[in-house]
């Protein structure tokens, strides 16, 4: 481990903890408006987080000798950042006793920062508003964190984790890459902030008050899915609010750079992007299939519009891995469970806040299958996987193979371990897929009508592990356990 750049790790984590403490302060100010006693725990948490961050920064500054950073520093930093953000983020829940158990507070915080949105809380309406704000804020932070991480850190090391980004970067040298990345980060941040402001105004214009509007904006743009109400969006009983939520989730699941270009240049170029076309098509397709199937079952709502809207809502909430609900779709029948699992596994666009294996990888899998079939018939011809007109190298396709294999293996092993903690077959599969893809709803006791309070302590830590590994795109966390990363 010689030449390991501690400075970078410590100072990065320190900086991010200090930023986190400022978000805690903002939540505390919100609590002040409502005169809540919970603000004390937020002030204390902010203080503790700030001091920890400052200390780490100072340690980092002290050892600032080595300036070189490499993959292992970045991977370790990113993993530790998510774990520590969640650890400190649990303090506000824990200190005031709003969530008395450490496990539950940490679980809630991980569900926040990973934008998963599962919860152990059973009476959201009684939960302090300032802590609701903080809880929603964690998802908003996690959302912008993930797009900056995926777009800024991962491409530094190439390897095609973000192929669409590479497409953008074609033709520029490594020296030019850094400024290009900060451009991209800026554009995405602008989009994220812009969407937050517009989302807030749109929600506020409906039956929501400013507080609920803010919280739900945070959790829809980030495809997080926390709600301030036990009944989620259904609580507001408003078609307007549901359509706003659908639109915001849809934006959260779209590649942010596409949205930036759309708004900046007001061009229809977005439809030329293959991943976006698949994304839109999948939402449309699943909505039609489910609506039709519900009609065949005679399982419909008062009006055609309401049926369509309800189905569209659950489909968008699943494909973007937001995990809001306006109805308990698990009650529609076990047939639908499969459809939702499929949507949650392959969902969201790369460079968006969605979890899951990403539609871009599905596209590569499908195109590779077509290439293999063609090669079989014409072995001499040169067929390659092409997306948006760009040829994909074998190494990229093999990386996707490795990613999907690892992803599904971890989901499988996760399900096995969960079933060992007493979850049923369905529940194990459902929660493993859901946590890994940062969706939020499992099957059985862990569906839209239930919550995670009945999971065992061990199961909750397993779920936390799955959420973090899934959120950080598998390789980041697993690389830390490989020998080859450390000996060089």
């Amino acid at each position: 481990m010689r030449n390991f750049n501690y400075w970078f790790v410590f100072s990065s984590i320190g900086l991010i903890l200090m930023i986190e403490s400022s978000f805690m302060l903002i939540s505390a100010f919100v609590g002040e408006i409502y005169n809540e006693s919970a603000v004390t725990s937020l002030y204390l948490s902010a203080l503790a987080t700030f001091i920890s961050g400052l200390t780490l920064s100072l340690i980092g500054r002290k050892r600032r000798k080595e300036k070189r950073i490499s993959q292992r520093e970045v991977y370790l930093t990113v993993t530790l950042v998510w774990v520590l953000m969640a650890l400190y983020g649990a303090l506000p829940f824990l200190l005031g006793g709003a969530i008395p158990s450490f496990t539950d507070a940490f679980f809630e915080s991980v569900c926040g920062f990973t934008t998963t949105g599962s919860s152990t809380l059973i009476n959201l309406e009684a939960f302090p508003k300032s802590l609701h704000f903080w809880r929603s804020f964690t998802q908003w932070i996690g959302g912008i964190g993930i797009i900056i991480f995926v777009m800024s850190f991962l491409p530094l090391f190439g390897g095609g984790s973000s192929q669409f980004y590479n497409a953008e970067a074609t033709g520029i040298t490594k020296e030019q890459l850094r400024p290009r990345i900060s451009d991209i980060t800026r554009n995405m941040s602008i989009t994220y902030l812009g969407l937050t402001v517009v989302g807030f105004l749109l929600f506020w214009a409906g039956p929501m008050d400013a507080f609920d509007a803010a919280c739900h904006t945070f959790t829809s743009i980030s495809t997080g899915g926390f709600s301030t109400k036990q009944a989620s969006i259904a609580h507001f009983n408003s078609a307007y609010t549901e359509y706003v939520a659908i639109s915001l989730m849809f934006c959260g699941g779209t590649r942010f750079l596409l949205l930036f270009n759309l708004f900046r240049h007001l061009s229809g170029k977005i439809f030329k992007d293959e991943e976006f076309r698949w994304y839109a098509f999948m939402i449309l397709g699943f909505t039609c299939v489910i609506t039709l199937s519900l009609y065949l079952d005679g399982n419909v709502f008062s009006s055609i519009e309401k049926t369509f809207r309800t189905v569209l809502f659950q489909v968008v909430a699943a494909i973007t891995t937001t995990g809001y609900a306006t109805t308990d779709f698990l009650r529609w029948g076990q047939f639908y469970w499969f459809l939702f699992l499929a949507m949650v596994l392959f969902c969201g666009s790369e460079g968006s806040t969605s979890g899951g294996m990403k539609i871009s990888r599905l596209v590569i899998l499908v195109k590779n299958t077509r290439v293999v079939f063609r090669r079989q018939v014409h072995p001499q011809a040169l067929y390659m996987v092409k997306i948006n007109g760009q040829v994909y190298a074998n190494a990229v396709v093999e990386k996707v193979l490795a990613f999907v294999f690892l992803y599904l293996t971890i989901v499988g092993i996760g399900a096995i371990v969960l079933s060992f903690t007493g979850m049923s077959f369905n529940e194990s599969i459902g929660t493993a897929v859901s946590s890994m893809s940062s969706y939020g709803f499992g099957l059985g006791r862990f569906g839209p009508s239930g919550n995670f309070s009945s999971a065992t302590v061990f199961a909750k830590y397993v779920l936390c592990f799955l959420m973090i590994v899934g959120r950080l795109e598998v390789f980041t966390v697993l690389s830390l356990f490989t020998k080859s990363l450390w000996k060089r």
Copy 2:
């Protein structure tokens, strides 16, 4: 479709139907020994099958102008052979009324020729002996059919479907390939026949009579899993019989060429084969984990030996996709369901009679993942997937990616369709995996204590489709639905 070689398709199918009719005759002779009335249906079926086969042969001979054959003729022939063998194979069950419903008779026959071993029969002891013989024979025919098909037809077109075969063939030209293939086919057939004789004698030496010994030899060597007893192997209540069954299943799941070399040269070279090492290790590993876990659960049998033997039996029956049972392992708990599904998905060796995705593909997936991790750290170094010292081309790895993706997609879609027919979530997943991998046991109503009589007619045809697609290694059947195969 110009230049399509009908001659080859018709004459091949005709030949195989005539061979099938001779096997029906043998079954009829067995029935004569027991003076059964069911022999009439066997004679009639043999006649009908022979006449159909002869007619097809004659038609084929008549059009014998075109001598060239290519992939599409082979793929179409192989698919049609399996469908028609099953169709004619259903006649003996249907004609005498032993299985009155056409769907059930066809289902039983498909479960035979694909060596799946699911069944709709609910009182095996009352089923005529001659039809039991035929039923077991279908699996034996299916078993030798699949090794000849995989080893003889598929490699003709390269593409790495059988990578281990390619390893054998390294260094010989295309002109030399044909005689080499007939060598391999001969060696495998000798092994298959030798194992059948030895297996019969070993079973007969135990509590089984000659009839049961023959039937169970047919269904264990072929990893088929049909039994003449409702309680399967447990009926004989003999440790000796169980160990014989374990050994025969183990051989059935081993690459036959390895067995041939082992017996021919009495060498320990078999342990140098990576796939074989994984195969043995997986059996050992799963047996230890499950035995240990049962002890922790306090869920054990009278003696340590009996516990170990029972677990080993179920594990070998799953990893070889035979699907015999000596206990209803589903009752051990839902945790074990996952282990069995995992075993059934990645199981058996290439060039054996097992179904599933094959251990060789699992090895490639694991090694590719390792390669991707290494590449990520040292992007400049050249890492490749190597098995048994041989480097695998990118195209092979991409083909495995396509295979696994298609396989799991078909299992997924199969499960969705099955759940639409009224099966529960577990049952849909269980039967889809089981049928695709030609294992035989599903979950829920379709486990070792149940049978498939309660499945709907539509569900049975879906299962038949999955069994045939899975048995013929996916590409063979799916290629027929691609445009690129037909326009050239």
